[in-house]
């Protein structure tokens, strides 16, 4: 109860400061719009449906980019986690790859895939695939070997062994990787939408600033944060329903 009160208090102080600093002219109100005005702007854009298009475009890019990350990263992580020779072979490029910033590669993606959707999906993919691969690998390596033996003693092998034992055993770790990947995806999404885009929340932020609609700019930033939070919540829900056995254990 006290913890909850404290949480409210912290939020109230932050929002209060956001509201009062520009109102008291301590911060230039042209640069920092008071919280209530931003909220009003956001609400109007939601009510009028203006923001829908941008949310949908951003969400679509996230889904494609993160979806590809999962499709590529999970099997790759399962393989590196399971096969030592394969792990050894791809370790160097994987370690090097994750060090290369997705933003730094954006010009390269534009060169290859043009300025359209493809390069935006690619940059999101690049940013989000590493945590998926690494956490899947770690998840597989952390499986208790006894469980594998146990499955093998019942004649499980090959794809069945992967599907029925390795995948569920590594699932908690895989989900952690996907949630981390999603956080990175949202970060680079904004950068990607600031170049050669005409829709999306990142575009809306930059565009609003360019045409001096500062409240709309802040509204778009808040919308991005809310979307990120909602997406994380959704992933958590999926994770909990997929690994319900962990709740049973009282985790």
């Amino acid at each position: 109860m006290r913890a909850l009160a404290l949480r409210f208090l912290v939020v109230a102080v932050l929002v209060g400061a956001w509201e009062l600093l520009p109102r008291a002219a301590i911060v230039n109100a042209n640069f920092l719009t008071p919280a209530s005005v931003v909220a009003d702007s956001l609400w109007r854009q939601i009510a009028s449906g203006e923001i829908d298009r941008h949310v949908l475009v951003s969400l679509e890019r996230i889904l494609y980019g993160l979806g590809l990350s999962v499709i590529i990263g999970v099997p790759l992580g399962l393989a590196t986690g399971s096969f030592k020779t394969f792990d050894g072979a791809v370790d160097a490029p994987l370690q090097a790859g994750r060090q290369v910033s997705a933003i730094a590669l954006f010009p390269v993606f534009i060169l290859f895939f043009g300025i359209g959707e493809m390069s935006k999906v690619m940059i999101i993919l690049w940013a989000s695939v590493w945590p998926v691969i690494l956490n899947t690998t770690a998840g597989v390596k952390g499986i208790d070997p006894i469980l594998i033996r146990s499955a093998r003693s019942m004649n499980a092998k090959g794809v069945t062994l992967f599907r029925k034992v390795i995948l569920p055993a590594a699932a908690p770790s895989i989900f952690t990787g996907i949630r981390l990947g999603a956080a990175y995806a949202f970060m680079v999404l904004v950068a990607a939408e600031m170049i050669g885009a005409n829709a999306g929340l990142g575009f809306l932020v930059l565009h609003s600033q360019e045409i001096f609609k500062i409240p709309e700019m802040y509204a778009a930033i808040v919308a991005l944060a809310l979307l990120g939070l909602a997406f994380n919540k959704l992933l958590l829900l999926i994770e909990h329903s997929a690994t319900a056995w962990r709740d049973a254990a009282g985790h």
Partner: protein, 297 residues
Amino acid sequence: MYFSGNGAVEQSLRIDKLTKRYAVKDAAGPIVALDAISLTVGKGEFIAILGPSGCGKSTLLHIIAGLVSADGSVVAHGKTVAGPGFDRGLVFQDYALFPWRTVLENVAFGLEIKKVPANAREPIAREHIAAVGLAGFEHRYPSQLSGGMKQRAAIARALAYDPEVLLMDEPFAALDAQCREILQGELLRIWEKTGKTVVFVTHSIEEAVFLAQRVVVMTARPGRIKQVVDIDLPAGRAAGDVRSSPQFAALRHLIWELLAEEVDKTAEGFLARPAPEARTRRSLFGLLSAAVSREGG
């Protein structure tokens, strides 16, 4: 070599000159875990394996289960063992239940692999869960069960896909005395009812004498068969108070002396050899590559 007098009985397992060496990095030579083990187990027979810690009992069971390769041969029901199979079921010492599956789903695992149709799996699984006294706990996860219940679930899982041979690795070691006795009784009941062959590894002389028809006493590492002791106690042990009979005491004493020599050996060499815990946990890599290389065969 010592064989007890059931040569005429149909053979379930024929183990012939089984030798297992483990290559260990920091040791001078390979560790010889098993040295020329030969043993024949009759169909429907209940044998117990006793031996000092680290003498290779688990290794032996895992080789019979087809999880570990070795020199020599294991023939199960006339077929040379080249990998795991539905004819053999292994119950691990530490249960090895899948934490993400309920009791029902755990017990149905082997049936899924065996490709038993989905609608037939549940009744079979439920029947075996009931047989080990776990009815009502079908939808619990392993983390919600006590040690004894987990062990029951593990036994039900190995029984469900109906292997002819049940290989049990110290299944009751972690249980309290009372729970242990109850499960021993239930195991005997199941064994008498199903007529399965049981190879039962234990550390407990009592348990071995109480359960088995023959007790195989192994030497300290390298594991060899020291002696096979016939247990000629009256049948229907589960019912009467066999444990306090003079025959029981005599057998227990005989085996105790056999074992004591071996345990002394282990104690003498204790500082010179690695502790039993020092065995390397086989990595998943190793297990998977083994699984994959087995695929071919």
